[in-house]
């Protein structure tokens, strides 16, 4: 139960970071934090799954996707840097 509390707090903190940080890198880092929080939760229960190995296997998968996501995020970052927009409010193409 306590791991749930921890995980939720971490996700909350990460989300706060995503919402408030102006710098793209910071946003990406905050996303990593949220991901970490989730993974902790998963880990705390992974062992408890009927076939232990399956729990482990899933956590590995989550870990992998986390890494992949980080890679894509950073690639985007690089692309944006090339167009010297590193601040979240400078990206306006999504204006409605």
């Amino acid at each position: 139960m306590t791991s749930l509390v921890l995980s939720c707090t971490l996700i909350g903190i990460g989300l706060y970071g995503v919402l408030t940080r102006r710098d793209l890198v910071a946003v990406l880092a905050s996303i990593e934090v949220m991901l970490g929080g989730a993974q902790v939760l998963l880990a705390s229960y992974a062992a408890g799954v009927s076939v232990p190995a399956v729990g482990e296997g899933i956590t590995v998968v989550v870990l992998a996707t986390g890494a992949a996501e980080a890679a894509i995020g950073l690639a985007l970052l690089v692309a944006l840097v090339r167009r010297n927009k590193t601040r979240t409010d400078q990206i306006e193409e999504v204006r409605g």
Partner: protein, 602 residues
Amino acid sequence: MSVLRTLPLVVVFVPVVVACLLAVGGRFVGRAAPWIALAGPLFAIGVGTASLDGGASGAVRWLGVGETAVRLGYHVDGLAAIMLLVVGVVSVCVIVFSIGYMRGDRGYVRYFALISLFTAAMAGLVIASDLVGLFLGWELVGACSFLLIGFWYERPEAAEAARKAFMVTRVGDAAMLVGMAVLWRATGTLELDAILGGVGALAPSVVTVAAVCLLLGAVGKSAQFPLHIWLPDAMEGPTPVSALIHAATMVAAGVFLVARTWPLFEASPEARLIALVLGTVTALGAATIALPQTDIKKVLAYSTISQLGFMFAALGVGAWPVALFHLVTHAAFKALLFLSSGSVIHGSGTQDLREMGDLRSKMPITATAWIIGGLALAGIPPTAGFFSKDEVVASVLQAAPWAGVALLAASVLTGAYVARATRLAFFGTARGAKEVHESQWTMTLPLLVLAVAALSLGLAGPMIARALGAESEALSLGIAAVAVGLAAAGAIGGWLLAADGGRREQALPPAFARMWGMVRNGYGFDTLATNVAVRPIAKLARFIDEAVDRAAIDGFVEGLAVAVRRAGALLAGTMNGDGQSYTALLAVGVIVLLAVTVWLVR
């Protein structure tokens, strides 16, 4: 002759066909239009004489579902026959008279088409055996009157008068419609013999309400107080039209209606009382207004209103055959007077009495015709007017002395305004600038025919009474003498009033002159009616249009649209391009969704 008895509907169809023929083929017919238009009235006379002692009848199912049905039918009884005769004779005279009077008018053929249509409608009204057929004729007569008053539609006064006439009569017609609805609910039918036969079975309140409603219709059509304001203005129409419609036929339809539905009125004392009061007030009031008029046609218009007042008074006291008799004689001598005035207008080019004078030297026939008519109107023996008006005054005096006295006073005034008009127009020194000439034969012949009628109809009293199925009382010499004496006195007064070309009239003391002017204006009733009825309705209409329709209802609908658009704009504001605000919204969405699922699951 007997074939006419069996085919009364011909009096309606022939003039309708003639009217359509003239309307469509106007150009080809040209000058022959009046002679073709004579067909309708001649048939009316034919059927009228043939059916004096009872004619054919028939009915057809006009509109119905199952057994509840509105039927349309005709029944030519004595009353209808007499009316047909009146309509026929007067129409013939008017049409012949109009040949000369309307020559050279742009709407020559249209005029005769409308007259023919009018004859058809009047005939239909008269022979109808049920209230729907009667109402059909009733309103069509009103429509023809509208079109004929507004015949010279380019003149604003004529257009306005036409609209006013049709509107005021339609107020009465609306009351009639309600009366018909009351009868329909009570008896399930609108056929006169069914209703009148079963009057005994009806509740008194129903009878009274129905009778009063029908009476209102009659008051509207016969221009009785307070719905009389349209008749003087109706003089804007051509004079022959005034003679036919606004003297003899249409305005008499009100009296005819009460006579036709007499059992209903017999069973309702209240309705009769209203008729008596309105009739008497109108008779006296209109006679006073007629006195100071300067336009010859206005004199005759108010005189007609007054004479109709006499008839309504007679109806009020229950003497409906007497009223009918007076209706017939009045039709004759009033048509005669109108046509004479037409001839005078045609000859002297003016309608204003002050610009006439000494017309008898140039227009002898017209003068004699006018004088005979005047004598009949005043009720001087041996003219027909004497007999019929005497019986009216006699019967009213017997039943309601106060009304009788008022009618006698009205007779005095009648004598006065007739004498005044006669002297101003035909005697004294010629004041008109234009060269005066006697009218051609087509105009003077009808005058002679009507003059003969005005003289001889007095003797037709018993024959008419028999046709109506009522016994005619003997002439009460006493009252007759009093009536004639009073009329003569009035005449002398009127004659003196019109001394030296009407200048004495203008030289009245200021107080009296102002009152004289006010009376001439019809006691200001016309302007009163406009301010009380016409103007508030127009203002209310504008208010409803602007405030209720445009602002309230339409505003609400348009407002709804604007509100929706503004709400849309509000939401669009959130899409401000800031990625992070999107995530925040997303997060809020997640919170809400999860909260709801948790709440639902629990």
